[in-house]
Amino acid sequence: MEEINFAHSIRVDENKCIGCVTCMRACPTKAIRVRNFKARIIDERCIDCGECLRVCPYHAIVPITTPSSDINRFRYKIAIPSPVLYSQFGQNVTPDEILTILKEHGFDQVYDEALVCEMTNLAIEEFLDENKAPRPIISCTCPVVIRLIQRLFPSLCGLIIPIEPPREIAAKNLREEVAKAMSIPKEEIGIIHITPCAAKMVSINHPETLEKSFLDGAISIQEIYNRIMMKVKKSKQSVMLRSQNQFSGIGLSWAIAGGEVKGLKYYHSVSVAGVYDTIRILDDVESGKLKNIDYLECMICPDGCVGGPLTAENRFIAKSNVQRLARIFGDKEQVDQYLVKRLYREKFFSFERAVKPKPFPPLDTNRDEAIRKMELKEATIRRLPGIDCGVCGSPDCRTLAEDIARGDAKIGDCIFIDGKGKRKE
Protein backbone atom coordinates (compact mmCIF):
# COMPACT_ATOMS: atom_id res chain seq x y z
CA MET A 1 0.00 0.00 0.00
CA GLU A 2 1.19 3.49 -0.74
CA GLU A 3 2.54 5.57 2.10
CA ILE A 4 -0.10 7.87 3.55
CA ASN A 5 0.98 11.09 5.15
CA PHE A 6 -0.87 11.86 8.36
CA ALA A 7 0.93 15.10 9.26
CA HIS A 8 -1.14 17.48 11.35
CA SER A 9 -1.49 21.14 12.19
CA ILE A 10 -1.78 20.66 15.93
CA ARG A 11 0.44 19.08 18.55
CA VAL A 12 0.40 18.49 22.28
CA ASP A 13 2.76 20.55 24.43
CA GLU A 14 3.72 17.96 27.02
CA ASN A 15 5.02 20.60 29.42
CA LYS A 16 1.57 22.12 29.68
CA CYS A 17 -0.60 19.00 29.39
CA ILE A 18 -1.68 17.51 32.73
CA GLY A 19 -3.77 14.70 31.22
CA CYS A 20 -7.18 16.06 32.24
CA VAL A 21 -9.13 14.24 29.43
CA THR A 22 -11.05 17.37 28.31
CA CYS A 23 -9.64 17.24 24.77
CA MET A 24 -10.07 13.49 24.55
CA ARG A 25 -13.77 13.78 25.29
CA ALA A 26 -14.25 16.65 22.85
CA CYS A 27 -12.63 14.86 19.92
CA PRO A 28 -15.28 13.92 17.33
CA THR A 29 -13.17 11.19 15.72
CA LYS A 30 -11.90 9.69 18.98
CA ALA A 31 -8.33 10.44 18.00
CA ILE A 32 -6.99 11.28 21.45
CA ARG A 33 -5.91 8.98 24.27
CA VAL A 34 -4.44 9.96 27.61
CA ARG A 35 -1.51 7.79 28.65
CA ASN A 36 0.71 8.55 31.65
CA PHE A 37 -1.12 11.84 32.23
CA LYS A 38 -0.36 13.15 28.74
CA ALA A 39 -2.74 13.53 25.81
CA ARG A 40 -1.64 11.70 22.66
CA ILE A 41 -3.04 12.32 19.23
CA ILE A 42 -3.47 9.24 17.05
CA ASP A 43 -2.26 10.53 13.70
CA GLU A 44 -4.37 8.37 11.42
CA ARG A 45 -7.60 9.22 13.25
CA CYS A 46 -7.11 13.00 13.57
CA ILE A 47 -8.81 15.24 10.99
CA ASP A 48 -7.40 18.58 12.25
CA CYS A 49 -10.79 20.00 13.20
CA GLY A 50 -9.35 21.88 16.17
CA GLU A 51 -12.05 20.92 18.69
CA CYS A 52 -9.31 19.95 21.16
CA LEU A 53 -7.64 23.31 20.67
CA ARG A 54 -10.85 25.11 21.62
CA VAL A 55 -11.50 23.23 24.84
CA CYS A 56 -8.05 22.71 26.37
CA PRO A 57 -8.01 24.64 29.68
CA TYR A 58 -4.20 24.61 29.79
CA HIS A 59 -3.47 25.78 26.23
CA ALA A 60 -1.54 22.57 25.82
CA ILE A 61 -2.83 21.92 22.30
CA VAL A 62 -0.71 24.06 20.05
CA PRO A 63 -1.63 25.03 16.49
CA ILE A 64 1.18 24.83 13.98
CA THR A 65 1.01 27.83 11.65
CA THR A 66 3.61 29.91 9.82
CA PRO A 67 5.42 32.39 12.11
CA SER A 68 5.26 35.99 10.83
CA SER A 69 9.05 36.16 10.65
CA ASP A 70 9.10 33.31 8.13
CA ILE A 71 7.94 35.57 5.31
CA ASN A 72 11.33 37.29 5.22
CA ARG A 73 12.85 34.39 3.32
CA PHE A 74 10.96 35.55 0.22
CA ARG A 75 11.97 38.40 -2.04
CA TYR A 76 8.40 39.43 -2.82
CA LYS A 77 5.76 38.86 -0.14
CA ILE A 78 2.04 38.68 -0.77
CA ALA A 79 -0.74 38.22 1.81
CA ILE A 80 -4.10 36.73 0.91
CA PRO A 81 -6.27 37.13 3.99
CA SER A 82 -9.35 35.02 4.48
CA PRO A 83 -12.39 37.35 4.22
CA VAL A 84 -12.89 36.48 7.91
CA LEU A 85 -10.17 39.05 8.67
CA TYR A 86 -12.52 41.89 7.65
CA SER A 87 -14.94 40.89 10.41
CA GLN A 88 -12.47 41.04 13.29
CA PHE A 89 -12.07 44.76 13.99
CA GLY A 90 -15.53 46.13 14.64
CA GLN A 91 -18.01 47.82 12.38
CA ASN A 92 -16.24 51.04 11.53
CA VAL A 93 -13.22 49.68 9.73
CA THR A 94 -13.37 49.08 6.00
CA PRO A 95 -11.76 46.10 4.27
CA ASP A 96 -9.62 48.73 2.50
CA GLU A 97 -8.18 49.97 5.76
CA ILE A 98 -7.54 46.46 7.04
CA LEU A 99 -5.71 45.54 3.85
CA THR A 100 -3.65 48.74 4.05
CA ILE A 101 -2.63 48.09 7.64
CA LEU A 102 -1.90 44.44 6.86
CA LYS A 103 0.41 45.51 4.05
CA GLU A 104 2.42 47.62 6.49
CA HIS A 105 2.97 44.43 8.43
CA GLY A 106 5.74 43.53 6.01
CA PHE A 107 4.06 42.56 2.77
CA ASP A 108 4.77 43.95 -0.67
CA GLN A 109 1.25 43.28 -1.76
CA VAL A 110 -2.07 42.31 -0.22
CA TYR A 111 -4.84 40.67 -2.18
CA ASP A 112 -8.57 40.47 -1.55
CA GLU A 113 -9.86 36.90 -1.65
CA ALA A 114 -13.56 37.81 -1.71
CA LEU A 115 -13.46 38.52 -5.44
CA VAL A 116 -12.04 35.07 -6.09
CA CYS A 117 -14.77 33.59 -3.88
CA GLU A 118 -17.30 35.10 -6.24
CA MET A 119 -15.42 33.70 -9.25
CA THR A 120 -15.43 30.29 -7.59
CA ASN A 121 -19.22 30.51 -7.21
CA LEU A 122 -19.48 30.87 -10.98
CA ALA A 123 -17.05 28.01 -11.55
CA ILE A 124 -19.13 25.80 -9.22
CA GLU A 125 -22.22 26.64 -11.27
CA GLU A 126 -20.37 25.77 -14.47
CA PHE A 127 -19.49 22.41 -12.96
CA LEU A 128 -23.05 21.74 -11.80
CA ASP A 129 -24.38 22.72 -15.24
CA GLU A 130 -22.03 20.30 -16.92
CA ASN A 131 -22.41 17.39 -14.49
CA LYS A 132 -26.01 16.45 -13.78
CA ALA A 133 -25.11 13.42 -11.68
CA PRO A 134 -24.17 12.20 -9.15
CA ARG A 135 -25.64 14.28 -6.34
CA PRO A 136 -25.09 15.94 -3.96
CA ILE A 137 -21.80 17.54 -4.94
CA ILE A 138 -19.88 18.51 -1.80
CA SER A 139 -17.90 21.71 -1.25
CA CYS A 140 -14.13 21.40 -0.74
CA THR A 141 -13.46 24.81 0.82
CA CYS A 142 -12.95 23.45 4.32
CA PRO A 143 -9.86 21.21 4.33
CA VAL A 144 -11.14 19.38 7.40
CA VAL A 145 -14.24 18.28 5.48
CA ILE A 146 -11.96 16.68 2.89
CA ARG A 147 -10.07 14.82 5.61
CA LEU A 148 -13.32 13.79 7.27
CA ILE A 149 -14.66 12.37 4.02
CA GLN A 150 -11.40 10.56 3.28
CA ARG A 151 -11.33 8.94 6.70
CA LEU A 152 -14.94 8.37 7.77
CA PHE A 153 -16.84 8.48 4.49
CA PRO A 154 -14.32 7.27 1.89
CA SER A 155 -17.05 6.22 -0.53
CA LEU A 156 -18.06 9.88 -0.88
CA CYS A 157 -14.69 11.07 -2.21
CA GLY A 158 -16.10 11.14 -5.73
CA LEU A 159 -18.75 13.68 -4.72
CA ILE A 160 -16.22 16.35 -3.73
CA ILE A 161 -16.30 19.20 -6.25
CA PRO A 162 -13.03 19.07 -8.23
CA ILE A 163 -12.57 22.83 -8.09
CA GLU A 164 -9.84 24.34 -5.94
CA PRO A 165 -10.94 26.61 -3.07
CA PRO A 166 -10.57 30.40 -3.55
CA ARG A 167 -7.35 30.71 -1.53
CA GLU A 168 -5.53 28.37 -3.91
CA ILE A 169 -7.04 29.92 -7.04
CA ALA A 170 -6.05 33.39 -5.84
CA ALA A 171 -2.49 32.29 -5.12
CA LYS A 172 -2.18 30.47 -8.44
CA ASN A 173 -3.30 33.53 -10.35
CA LEU A 174 -1.12 35.94 -8.37
CA ARG A 175 2.04 33.91 -8.69
CA GLU A 176 1.74 33.84 -12.46
CA GLU A 177 0.78 37.51 -12.72
CA VAL A 178 3.45 38.87 -10.39
CA ALA A 179 6.20 36.68 -11.82
CA LYS A 180 5.41 38.00 -15.28
CA ALA A 181 4.79 41.66 -14.40
CA MET A 182 7.81 42.08 -12.14
CA SER A 183 10.14 39.46 -13.64
CA ILE A 184 10.65 37.71 -10.34
CA PRO A 185 11.23 33.94 -10.36
CA LYS A 186 8.12 32.17 -9.09
CA GLU A 187 9.92 30.53 -6.19
CA GLU A 188 11.07 33.89 -4.83
CA ILE A 189 7.48 35.02 -4.42
CA GLY A 190 6.03 34.13 -1.01
CA ILE A 191 2.24 33.92 -0.90
CA ILE A 192 0.84 33.67 2.59
CA HIS A 193 -2.74 33.02 3.62
CA ILE A 194 -4.04 34.79 6.74
CA THR A 195 -6.09 32.03 8.31
CA PRO A 196 -8.82 31.55 10.91
CA CYS A 197 -7.76 27.90 11.48
CA ALA A 198 -4.67 25.73 11.55
CA ALA A 199 -6.16 23.15 9.21
CA LYS A 200 -5.15 25.20 6.14
CA MET A 201 -1.55 24.36 7.02
CA VAL A 202 -2.26 20.73 6.30
CA SER A 203 -3.73 21.55 2.91
CA ILE A 204 -0.70 23.75 2.19
CA ASN A 205 1.98 21.34 3.35
CA HIS A 206 0.26 18.18 2.18
CA PRO A 207 -2.25 19.10 -0.51
CA GLU A 208 -4.64 16.30 -1.43
CA THR A 209 -5.54 17.59 -4.86
CA LEU A 210 -2.45 19.45 -6.06
CA GLU A 211 1.12 18.42 -6.69
CA LYS A 212 2.17 21.43 -4.66
CA SER A 213 0.07 24.12 -2.97
CA PHE A 214 0.17 27.58 -4.57
CA LEU A 215 0.44 29.02 -1.06
CA ASP A 216 3.68 29.10 0.91
CA GLY A 217 2.22 29.25 4.39
CA ALA A 218 -0.55 30.49 6.62
CA ILE A 219 -0.28 33.03 9.43
CA SER A 220 -3.05 32.88 12.01
CA ILE A 221 -5.40 35.81 12.51
CA GLN A 222 -4.56 35.67 16.22
CA GLU A 223 -0.88 36.23 15.51
CA ILE A 224 -1.37 39.51 13.68
CA TYR A 225 -4.52 40.64 15.47
CA ASN A 226 -2.95 42.80 18.18
CA ARG A 227 -0.70 44.70 15.83
CA ILE A 228 -3.50 45.46 13.39
CA MET A 229 -5.83 46.41 16.23
CA MET A 230 -3.29 48.87 17.64
CA LYS A 231 -3.08 50.66 14.31
CA VAL A 232 -6.84 50.57 13.82
CA LYS A 233 -7.26 52.26 17.19
CA LYS A 234 -4.65 54.90 16.40
CA SER A 235 -6.03 55.87 13.03
CA LYS A 236 -8.98 58.18 13.36
CA GLN A 237 -12.21 56.25 13.64
CA SER A 238 -13.64 56.58 10.18
CA VAL A 239 -17.33 55.89 10.06
CA MET A 240 -17.76 53.53 7.19
CA LEU A 241 -19.77 55.32 4.58
CA ARG A 242 -18.04 54.19 1.48
CA SER A 243 -15.04 52.04 0.90
CA GLN A 244 -12.69 53.37 -1.74
CA ASN A 245 -12.79 50.10 -3.55
CA GLN A 246 -15.78 48.01 -4.36
CA PHE A 247 -15.59 44.63 -2.65
CA SER A 248 -17.65 41.61 -3.64
CA GLY A 249 -20.59 41.26 -1.25
CA ILE A 250 -21.19 37.78 -2.65
CA GLY A 251 -17.58 36.78 -1.98
CA LEU A 252 -17.40 38.34 1.50
CA SER A 253 -20.24 36.09 2.62
CA TRP A 254 -18.00 33.04 2.22
CA ALA A 255 -16.67 33.86 5.70
CA ILE A 256 -19.90 32.61 7.25
CA ALA A 257 -21.82 29.37 6.93
CA GLY A 258 -24.30 29.58 4.08
CA GLY A 259 -22.15 32.14 2.27
CA GLU A 260 -20.78 29.78 -0.33
CA VAL A 261 -24.21 28.50 -1.34
CA LYS A 262 -25.71 32.00 -1.23
CA GLY A 263 -23.86 32.73 -4.47
CA LEU A 264 -25.38 29.71 -6.24
CA LYS A 265 -28.52 30.97 -7.83
CA TYR A 266 -29.81 28.11 -9.87
CA TYR A 267 -29.23 25.10 -7.68
CA HIS A 268 -30.84 23.46 -4.70
CA SER A 269 -28.18 23.70 -2.06
CA VAL A 270 -27.83 23.08 1.65
CA SER A 271 -25.40 24.53 4.15
CA VAL A 272 -24.22 22.73 7.28
CA ALA A 273 -21.81 23.99 9.94
CA GLY A 274 -20.22 22.34 12.95
CA VAL A 275 -18.33 19.09 13.08
CA TYR A 276 -21.07 16.90 14.59
CA ASP A 277 -23.75 18.17 12.21
CA THR A 278 -21.37 17.67 9.29
CA ILE A 279 -20.80 14.05 10.33
CA ARG A 280 -24.56 13.58 10.61
CA ILE A 281 -25.31 15.02 7.17
CA LEU A 282 -22.52 12.99 5.52
CA ASP A 283 -24.07 9.90 7.09
CA ASP A 284 -27.30 10.82 5.31
CA VAL A 285 -25.43 11.35 2.04
CA GLU A 286 -23.91 7.90 2.43
CA SER A 287 -27.39 6.43 2.86
CA GLY A 288 -28.33 8.00 -0.45
CA LYS A 289 -30.84 10.25 1.34
CA LEU A 290 -29.81 13.58 -0.22
CA LYS A 291 -29.83 12.72 -3.91
CA ASN A 292 -32.29 15.52 -4.62
CA ILE A 293 -29.84 18.16 -3.36
CA ASP A 294 -27.37 19.60 -5.85
CA TYR A 295 -24.74 21.15 -3.64
CA LEU A 296 -23.78 20.61 -0.04
CA GLU A 297 -21.65 23.16 1.77
CA CYS A 298 -20.08 21.76 4.92
CA MET A 299 -18.06 23.89 7.32
CA ILE A 300 -16.44 22.21 10.29
CA CYS A 301 -16.38 25.33 12.47
CA PRO A 302 -19.58 26.59 14.08
CA ASP A 303 -21.10 29.37 11.93
CA GLY A 304 -18.42 28.72 9.31
CA CYS A 305 -14.93 30.23 9.08
CA VAL A 306 -15.79 33.12 11.44
CA GLY A 307 -15.97 30.37 14.09
CA GLY A 308 -12.41 29.24 13.38
CA PRO A 309 -10.29 28.41 16.45
CA LEU A 310 -7.60 30.96 15.52
CA THR A 311 -9.87 33.98 15.14
CA ALA A 312 -9.88 36.84 17.64
CA GLU A 313 -13.40 38.26 17.58
CA ASN A 314 -16.33 36.40 19.12
CA ARG A 315 -17.97 34.55 16.25
CA PHE A 316 -21.45 36.00 16.72
CA ILE A 317 -20.14 39.54 16.45
CA ALA A 318 -17.92 38.54 13.53
CA LYS A 319 -20.87 36.96 11.75
CA SER A 320 -22.91 40.10 12.21
CA ASN A 321 -20.01 42.17 10.85
CA VAL A 322 -19.80 39.97 7.76
CA GLN A 323 -23.52 40.29 7.16
CA ARG A 324 -23.24 44.06 7.48
CA LEU A 325 -20.35 44.24 5.02
CA ALA A 326 -22.22 42.02 2.57
CA ARG A 327 -25.21 44.36 2.80
CA ILE A 328 -23.07 47.44 2.25
CA PHE A 329 -21.37 46.05 -0.82
CA GLY A 330 -24.56 44.44 -2.07
CA ASP A 331 -24.92 41.39 -4.26
CA LYS A 332 -24.25 43.01 -7.55
CA GLU A 333 -21.88 40.80 -9.52
CA GLN A 334 -18.30 42.06 -9.60
CA VAL A 335 -16.86 39.31 -11.72
CA ASP A 336 -16.72 38.95 -15.48
CA GLN A 337 -18.78 35.83 -16.22
CA TYR A 338 -17.14 35.25 -19.56
CA LEU A 339 -13.68 35.37 -18.07
CA VAL A 340 -14.71 32.72 -15.51
CA LYS A 341 -16.27 30.56 -18.25
CA ARG A 342 -13.05 30.74 -20.24
CA LEU A 343 -10.85 29.96 -17.23
CA TYR A 344 -13.18 27.10 -16.34
CA ARG A 345 -12.82 25.63 -19.82
CA GLU A 346 -9.05 26.00 -19.56
CA LYS A 347 -9.30 24.02 -16.30
CA PHE A 348 -7.72 26.88 -14.37
CA PHE A 349 -9.88 26.03 -11.34
CA SER A 350 -9.53 22.26 -11.55
CA PHE A 351 -7.97 19.80 -9.15
CA GLU A 352 -4.73 18.32 -10.45
CA ARG A 353 -5.77 14.98 -8.98
CA ALA A 354 -8.86 13.52 -7.35
CA VAL A 355 -9.31 13.16 -3.60
CA LYS A 356 -8.28 9.64 -2.61
CA PRO A 357 -9.97 7.64 0.15
CA LYS A 358 -7.85 7.17 3.27
CA PRO A 359 -10.21 5.15 5.45
CA PHE A 360 -9.66 4.57 9.15
CA PRO A 361 -7.81 1.30 9.52
CA PRO A 362 -10.23 -1.64 10.03
CA LEU A 363 -9.74 -3.69 13.21
CA ASP A 364 -7.40 -5.90 11.24
CA THR A 365 -6.27 -6.11 7.63
CA ASN A 366 -7.06 -9.80 7.68
CA ARG A 367 -10.83 -10.08 7.48
CA ASP A 368 -11.16 -13.18 9.69
CA GLU A 369 -8.96 -11.51 12.31
CA ALA A 370 -11.03 -8.31 12.01
CA ILE A 371 -14.19 -10.25 12.74
CA ARG A 372 -12.60 -12.04 15.69
CA LYS A 373 -11.55 -8.66 17.06
CA MET A 374 -15.00 -7.23 16.52
CA GLU A 375 -16.50 -10.08 18.51
CA LEU A 376 -13.94 -9.46 21.25
CA LYS A 377 -14.85 -5.78 21.18
CA GLU A 378 -18.58 -6.50 21.52
CA ALA A 379 -17.94 -8.96 24.37
CA THR A 380 -15.72 -6.39 26.12
CA ILE A 381 -18.38 -3.68 25.81
CA ARG A 382 -20.72 -5.92 27.79
CA ARG A 383 -18.14 -6.22 30.58
CA LEU A 384 -17.52 -2.48 30.89
CA PRO A 385 -19.73 -0.19 33.01
CA GLY A 386 -20.77 2.03 30.07
CA ILE A 387 -20.51 5.28 31.99
CA ASP A 388 -17.81 6.73 29.71
CA CYS A 389 -15.77 8.31 32.49
CA GLY A 390 -12.54 8.45 30.49
CA VAL A 391 -10.31 7.65 33.46
CA CYS A 392 -8.84 4.66 31.59
CA GLY A 393 -7.42 7.06 29.01
CA SER A 394 -9.82 6.15 26.21
CA PRO A 395 -12.70 8.54 25.48
CA ASP A 396 -15.54 6.13 26.26
CA CYS A 397 -16.22 2.48 27.08
CA ARG A 398 -16.87 1.55 23.43
CA THR A 399 -13.57 2.98 22.34
CA LEU A 400 -11.74 1.31 25.23
CA ALA A 401 -13.23 -1.98 24.03
CA GLU A 402 -11.93 -1.23 20.55
CA ASP A 403 -8.49 -0.30 21.90
CA ILE A 404 -8.42 -3.60 23.81
CA ALA A 405 -9.41 -5.51 20.64
CA ARG A 406 -6.61 -3.79 18.75
CA GLY A 407 -4.17 -4.64 21.53
CA ASP A 408 -3.57 -1.01 22.53
CA ALA A 409 -5.15 -1.26 26.00
CA LYS A 410 -6.16 -3.90 28.53
CA ILE A 411 -9.34 -4.55 30.47
CA GLY A 412 -7.53 -3.70 33.72
CA ASP A 413 -7.25 -0.09 32.54
CA CYS A 414 -10.90 0.30 33.55
CA ILE A 415 -11.05 1.46 37.16
CA PHE A 416 -14.27 -0.50 37.67
CA ILE A 417 -12.60 -3.82 36.86
CA ASP A 418 -10.58 -5.56 39.57
CA GLY A 419 -7.32 -7.47 39.23
CA LYS A 420 -9.21 -10.68 38.41
CA GLY A 421 -11.02 -9.05 35.52
CA LYS A 422 -14.29 -8.84 37.46
CA ARG A 423 -16.54 -5.80 37.89
CA LYS A 424 -15.96 -4.10 41.23
CA GLU A 425 -19.13 -3.80 43.30
Partner: protein, 148 residues
Protein backbone atom coordinates in the same frame (compact mmCIF):
# COMPACT_ATOMS: atom_id res chain seq x y z
CA UNK B 1 -20.55 -23.22 -3.77
CA UNK B 2 -21.50 -21.18 -0.71
CA UNK B 3 -18.57 -20.37 1.55
CA UNK B 4 -18.79 -20.22 5.35
CA UNK B 5 -20.41 -17.22 6.99
CA UNK B 6 -17.85 -14.97 8.59
CA UNK B 7 -20.26 -12.48 10.05
CA UNK B 8 -23.98 -12.52 10.73
CA UNK B 9 -26.34 -10.19 12.52
CA UNK B 10 -30.04 -9.46 12.50
CA UNK B 11 -31.66 -6.04 12.84
CA UNK B 12 -35.25 -5.36 13.81
CA UNK B 13 -37.05 -2.53 12.05
CA UNK B 14 -40.30 -1.09 13.42
CA UNK B 15 -42.93 -0.06 10.87
CA UNK B 16 -44.04 3.54 11.17
CA UNK B 17 -41.10 4.63 13.31
CA UNK B 18 -39.63 7.41 11.18
CA UNK B 19 -37.52 8.67 14.07
CA UNK B 20 -35.42 5.52 14.14
CA UNK B 21 -35.45 5.01 10.38
CA UNK B 22 -31.90 4.68 9.11
CA UNK B 23 -30.39 3.28 12.32
CA UNK B 24 -30.09 -0.29 11.08
CA UNK B 25 -28.47 0.67 7.78
CA UNK B 26 -26.12 3.02 9.60
CA UNK B 27 -25.06 0.18 11.88
CA UNK B 28 -24.61 -2.15 8.90
CA UNK B 29 -22.27 0.35 7.24
CA UNK B 30 -20.28 0.77 10.46
CA UNK B 31 -19.82 -3.01 10.78
CA UNK B 32 -18.69 -3.40 7.17
CA UNK B 33 -16.19 -0.54 7.54
CA UNK B 34 -14.86 -1.97 10.76
CA UNK B 35 -14.15 -5.37 9.22
CA UNK B 36 -12.44 -3.77 6.26
CA UNK B 37 -14.95 -4.24 3.43
CA UNK B 38 -14.15 -2.23 0.31
CA UNK B 39 -15.62 1.33 0.21
CA UNK B 40 -17.60 0.90 -2.96
CA UNK B 41 -19.22 -2.24 -1.56
CA UNK B 42 -20.03 -0.44 1.70
CA UNK B 43 -21.68 2.31 -0.27
CA UNK B 44 -23.81 -0.03 -2.38
CA UNK B 45 -24.84 -2.21 0.55
CA UNK B 46 -25.52 0.94 2.61
CA UNK B 47 -27.87 2.37 0.01
CA UNK B 48 -29.66 -0.95 -0.50
CA UNK B 49 -30.02 -1.39 3.28
CA UNK B 50 -31.30 2.14 3.76
CA UNK B 51 -33.89 1.86 1.01
CA UNK B 52 -35.04 -1.52 2.35
CA UNK B 53 -35.27 -0.13 5.84
CA UNK B 54 -37.31 2.82 4.62
CA UNK B 55 -39.71 0.49 2.81
CA UNK B 56 -40.35 -1.39 6.05
CA UNK B 57 -40.81 1.85 8.00
CA UNK B 58 -43.16 3.33 5.42
CA UNK B 59 -45.33 0.35 4.55
CA UNK B 60 -44.97 -2.57 6.98
CA UNK B 61 -45.77 -3.29 10.63
CA UNK B 62 -42.48 -4.94 11.40
CA UNK B 63 -39.43 -6.13 9.57
CA UNK B 64 -36.02 -7.63 10.02
CA UNK B 65 -32.84 -7.26 8.06
CA UNK B 66 -30.37 -10.13 8.15
CA UNK B 67 -26.80 -9.21 7.32
CA UNK B 68 -24.55 -12.03 6.28
CA UNK B 69 -20.95 -11.66 5.15
CA UNK B 70 -18.92 -14.39 3.51
CA UNK B 71 -15.54 -14.24 1.79
CA UNK B 72 -17.28 -13.67 -1.54
CA UNK B 73 -20.27 -11.49 -0.81
CA UNK B 74 -22.40 -9.36 1.46
CA UNK B 75 -25.96 -10.62 1.67
CA UNK B 76 -29.01 -8.78 3.01
CA UNK B 77 -32.24 -10.65 3.63
CA UNK B 78 -35.17 -8.36 4.33
CA UNK B 79 -38.49 -9.78 5.55
CA UNK B 80 -41.46 -7.77 6.60
CA UNK B 81 -44.93 -8.32 7.96
CA UNK B 82 -46.89 -5.93 5.84
CA UNK B 83 -49.46 -5.47 3.12
CA UNK B 84 -47.34 -7.10 0.42
CA UNK B 85 -47.05 -5.86 -3.14
CA UNK B 86 -49.85 -6.86 -5.55
CA UNK B 87 -47.85 -6.21 -8.72
CA UNK B 88 -44.13 -6.59 -8.18
CA UNK B 89 -43.26 -5.67 -11.77
CA UNK B 90 -45.13 -2.41 -11.42
CA UNK B 91 -43.42 -1.65 -8.09
CA UNK B 92 -40.05 -2.13 -9.79
CA UNK B 93 -40.85 0.66 -12.28
CA UNK B 94 -38.90 3.83 -11.42
CA UNK B 95 -41.27 6.50 -10.12
CA UNK B 96 -44.12 4.15 -9.29
CA UNK B 97 -45.24 4.74 -5.71
CA UNK B 98 -48.13 4.06 -3.35
CA UNK B 99 -46.80 6.51 -0.77
CA UNK B 100 -49.31 8.86 0.80
CA UNK B 101 -49.26 12.60 0.17
CA UNK B 102 -47.84 13.16 3.68
CA UNK B 103 -44.96 10.76 3.09
CA UNK B 104 -44.07 12.44 -0.17
CA UNK B 105 -44.20 15.85 1.47
CA UNK B 106 -41.61 14.56 3.92
CA UNK B 107 -39.39 13.63 1.00
CA UNK B 108 -40.07 9.90 1.09
CA UNK B 109 -41.80 7.62 -1.35
CA UNK B 110 -40.47 8.94 -4.65
CA UNK B 111 -40.91 5.52 -6.20
CA UNK B 112 -37.18 4.93 -6.52
CA UNK B 113 -36.68 2.56 -3.58
CA UNK B 114 -36.86 -0.85 -5.21
CA UNK B 115 -35.22 0.24 -8.50
CA UNK B 116 -32.41 1.76 -6.47
CA UNK B 117 -31.90 -1.43 -4.47
CA UNK B 118 -31.76 -3.42 -7.70
CA UNK B 119 -29.29 -0.96 -9.20
CA UNK B 120 -26.91 -1.36 -6.30
CA UNK B 121 -27.18 -5.16 -6.03
CA UNK B 122 -25.33 -7.78 -8.06
CA UNK B 123 -28.16 -10.23 -7.44
CA UNK B 124 -31.63 -9.13 -6.42
CA UNK B 125 -34.72 -11.21 -5.71
CA UNK B 126 -38.09 -10.05 -4.54
CA UNK B 127 -41.09 -12.12 -3.52
CA UNK B 128 -44.28 -10.79 -2.03
CA UNK B 129 -47.56 -12.16 -0.76
CA UNK B 130 -50.48 -9.76 -0.52
CA UNK B 131 -51.69 -9.53 3.06
CA UNK B 132 -48.57 -11.28 4.42
CA UNK B 133 -45.43 -9.37 3.55
CA UNK B 134 -42.46 -8.92 1.28
CA UNK B 135 -39.08 -10.61 1.12
CA UNK B 136 -35.97 -9.17 -0.49
CA UNK B 137 -32.69 -10.96 -1.16
CA UNK B 138 -29.85 -8.61 -1.95
CA UNK B 139 -26.34 -9.75 -2.80
CA UNK B 140 -23.34 -7.52 -3.39
CA UNK B 141 -20.23 -9.39 -4.47
CA UNK B 142 -16.98 -8.52 -2.76
CA UNK B 143 -14.63 -9.04 -5.66
CA UNK B 144 -17.25 -8.31 -8.24
CA UNK B 145 -16.95 -6.61 -11.56
CA UNK B 146 -16.40 -3.25 -9.85
CA UNK B 147 -19.81 -1.96 -10.85
CA UNK B 148 -20.77 1.11 -8.85
Amino acid sequence: MSSPIIYEEEFRVEGGDFLKAGEASCRIRAILKEIGIDNSVVRRVGIAAYESEMNVVMYARLGRIRLRVTKEKVFLGVDDEGPGIPDVNLAMQPGYTTATEEMREMGFGAGMGLPNIKKNADIFNITSTVGRGTNLEITVKLNGDGRN
